[in-house]
Symmetry: C2
Subunit: 132 residues, 2 copies
């Protein structure tokens, strides 16, 4: 039955088919990262993609000028990957602007933060382990 | 002195400037993921981007037809993000083709594998914690 539904959806609209599959709670939990973006004029938004007892994976969505203030996690490493836009990263006392497709790690116990110093939206894929 | 060098490079070539910064061993360890790609006709390649006692982050690079055979990690979660191309993911007995910008988790103790069933190269960003 589910197989027939999938075939039907596939024939009508491949995109809808992929989305329907991704939404099926009993199946593989795949997501299209850009469909998960969420922005708020008040502050940068964190959208959780995956979370277990051992790690989390979020999207961070910044309007121009928004920031994640510099902070530190004891014993947990964070990785930022720039999906869209560019931002200024502060890690361990150094600051650098990173663009789309750049990846950087903020190791455990090292202070880190991000500011969207560009005029466009900034979207990051963020991974941290272990979960704080 | 380093500041002068950076300014000089910046004025001549912004791309070279960014790369020079990324290579500086005493600075922030930022990388451009696509500059790290490596392929081998014999088998899929794993390129480590970051590794700590708690997790690793790799690029997996598949020529058409190459695969990561289905396997399981006890107590460690893996996340696959499709940077380039498309591949067929096997997770927990389900198989699905995922395209660029899709992300999926293989939770701890769940069997998982990837096959590049497309005619083009496949590049994945892979996170795992804790490190096995």
């Amino acid at each position: 039955m589910a197989r027939d539904l999938r075939q039907c959806l596939f024939e009508r609209n491949q995109e809808a088919y992929m989305e329907a599959l991704a939404e099926m709670e009993d199946g593989m939990d795949a997501k299209h990262v850009f469909s998960q973006k969420a922005f708020n004029e008040q502050k940068m938004q964190k959208v959780n993609l995956f979370e277990t007892a051992r790690m989390f994976c979020d999207l961070y969505c910044f309007e121009p000028g928004q920031e994640q203030k510099t902070h530190t996690h004891a014993g947990a490493d964070k990785i930022y990957y720039v999906l869209e836009g560019r931002g200024t990263f502060h890690i361990g006392g150094e600051s650098r602007e990173l663009q789309e497709h750049s990846i950087v790690m903020a190791p455990a116990d090292v202070e880190h933060g991000v500011v969207n110093t560009s005029g466009a939206r900034l979207v990051l894929l963020v991974y941290m382990a272990p979960k704080p």
